[in-house]
Amino acid sequence: MPNSAATHAVSELATVTAEPGVPKPDPLLVADKVNRHFGGLVAVDVDHVEIQRGSITALIGPNGAGKTTFFNVLSGFDKADAGSWTFAGNTVTNTPPHRLARKGMVRTFQLTKSLSRLTVLDNMLLGAGGQTGEGMLASLFPFTWRSQETKNTERAMVLLERFSLASKSKDFAGSLSGGQRKLLEMARALMLQPELIMLDEPMAGVNPALKQSLLDHIRDIREQGTTVLFVEHDMDMVRDVSDWVIVMAQGQIIAEGRPEIVMQDQRVIDAYLGAHHDQELTASGGSLTEEVTS
């Protein structure tokens, strides 16, 4: 059953003009004049962008477009040279990642960072916020944190059940397959009950059978009221799941709009597909883009 807030947010997007930097009816994340350069190379130069609350927004672009750098800057893992951005109305410019996570903005990584020598359940519990037992002194007195730990464990098991990992809860995370690690990382991020979840290439290295279930999980996250922003190469995924697409090339946002509109935009086709633009976009998904952009 779709969450009404999510459907509302998505229907609102239908009326938004497809042009770079367009204002959204209900923005959760707003970035202004964000600039990041490495020596003479301008990696990110975003004038203005807004992410609609309750939507699934895709950030796409050819290799070297600055997507991941922009992502790292927004999530506090890299520092911007200039610019400012707000999250849910609060300025969070260059806020360190752990503070952002506590404010409700959580990211995952392209190279999955499951914590190998911790069990799946411990990975999940690490995600829970505001734990009394994480204080060094309080940790010595289990009665101060035991009940909280029980509640977190219950919540973790519900999430693991949802991501089909419950039977693995006692295994080391390092023993999971690549796809299961992606699921674990996503589930772990949800332990923070974030308002915005940022997924860095969630489909990278995932087999086709698992892709469909990952897509369902991402939709599910939106239905539960969490906004999703993801970087992706896989065009099938972008078309299937996203409500809004932002296209970057050479550090700038060159287009944005609903997926069916953006994919016909000449600037996007030029930037993304270059000489091969006459080929069908759906033909071979990721491998086509790799071939073209390499």
């Binding site: 914590l115 020598r117 916020g129 060094m136 023993s175």
Partner: protein, 332 residues
């Protein structure tokens, strides 16, 4: 000299004062490296701070109003240890792990050379004298020359030192166990696996790493305090980088990130070291080995122990208490 003597010597060293000092320092390393993944190669700096705090405050500052007794000196030693951890950690814990390794190994040498070249801190002669009289004054063992526990024999003072040492170790093991089963310990282990992941989950990893560095440093300092009290002497050249490497050897031998790992490691390490030495001396004295001089035994035992450890790392990299499956996960 016979086989019984060799074994007795080895056992008494395996649970003796030196083993206790190394064990305390290694338990600190276990928290820093084993659980939190901090590459502290300068644990000896924390040990030196402990020893020198006792030496300087009790002997050099004798009668000073600031140091009324041994217990206050111990408190100062711990505070200095915290200060050292802060000085080392503030600039390096934000950087990659390798930087902490470089800074700590250098800090250990800097501290040793400062002590060695400053006369008011003992200089090259070190500090000798009665340290820890208050400690020996509360010795509950009855007045007699020697105490025999089975084949082992201790002087009254040594018996007291060893007893207190193992009681302190037991308490610190309990503390380590309590910390590492808690959510605090979970964050530490997470940092060891992947710091960025833990940051992305809303934890200030810097803060946790600092806590681990301070706590592990205090363990090392307690070893140093113990050293000064037990040996009644503090020599600058005892505090060489090799000490830290032996601690790592002990830790890996016993099994890192296991509460009991350092205990098993220290006992076996010291047993083997003394056993090999005494056994070779025995063979030389009854003419079985003719190609070695007794003076060559010291270096040779380290060669043999080093060889043994290489074999251990190759065939049992997880250490004695470790789990092979856990080590294999790293390769993925």
């Amino acid at each position: 000299m016979d086989m019984g003597f060799v074994l007795t010597q080895a056992i008494s060293q395996a649970i003796g004062v030196t083993a206790i000092i190394y064990l305390l320092a290694t338990m600190g390393l276990n928290i820093q490296f084993g659980y939190a993944g901090l590459l502290n190669f300068g644990q000896i700096a924390f040990v030196a701070i402990g020893s020198y705090a006792i030496g300087v405050f009790i002997i050099q500052w004798q009668g000073s109003v600031f140091v009324p007794n041994l217990w206050v000196a111990i408190l100062y030693a711990i505070l200095l240890s915290v200060l050292l951890a802060l000085i080392l950690g503030v600039p390096t814990l934000r950087l990659r792990a390798d930087y902490l390794a470089i800074v700590t190994i250098a800090a250990g040498e800097i501290i040793r050379l400062i002590f060695k070249s400053t006369d008011s801190l003992g200089g090259a002669q070190g500090i000798n004298g009665k340290m820890g009289e208050e400690f020996y004054a509360i010795n509950p063992f009855p007045e007699q020359d020697r105490f025999d526990f089975g084949p082992l024999s201790y002087t009254r003072n040594d018996a007291w030192v060893v007893t207190v040492g193992w009681i302190v170790i037991a308490l610190l093991l309990l503390l380590t166990w309590a910390l590492m089963r808690s959510p605090w310990g979970r964050v530490l282990k997470g940092i060891r696996e992947d710091e960025d992941a833990v940051r992305s989950l809303g934890k200030s990893t810097y803060f946790f790493k600092m806590q681990a560095l301070i706590l592990g440093g205090i363990f090392g300092t307690l070893g140093g305090i113990f050293w000064a009290i037990a040996k009644q002497s503090v020599q600058p050249d005892s505090f060489v980088p090799a000490f830290t490497f032996f601690c790592y050897t002990i830790l890996i031998l016993g099994g890192a990130a296991r509460v009991m790992g350092p205990v098993i490691g220290a006992i076996i390490f010291w047993f083997l070291l003394v056993f090999v030495e005494q056994f070779l001396l025995l063979l030389i004295s009854n003419g079985t080995i003719t190609f070695l001089e007794p003076t060559q035994v010291g270096p040779i035992r380290f060669i043999l122990v080093g060889l043994g450890l290489m074999l251990l790392i190759i065939f049992r990299p997880q250490g004695i208490l470790g789990d092979k499956k856990e080590i294999a996960l790293d390769a993925k």
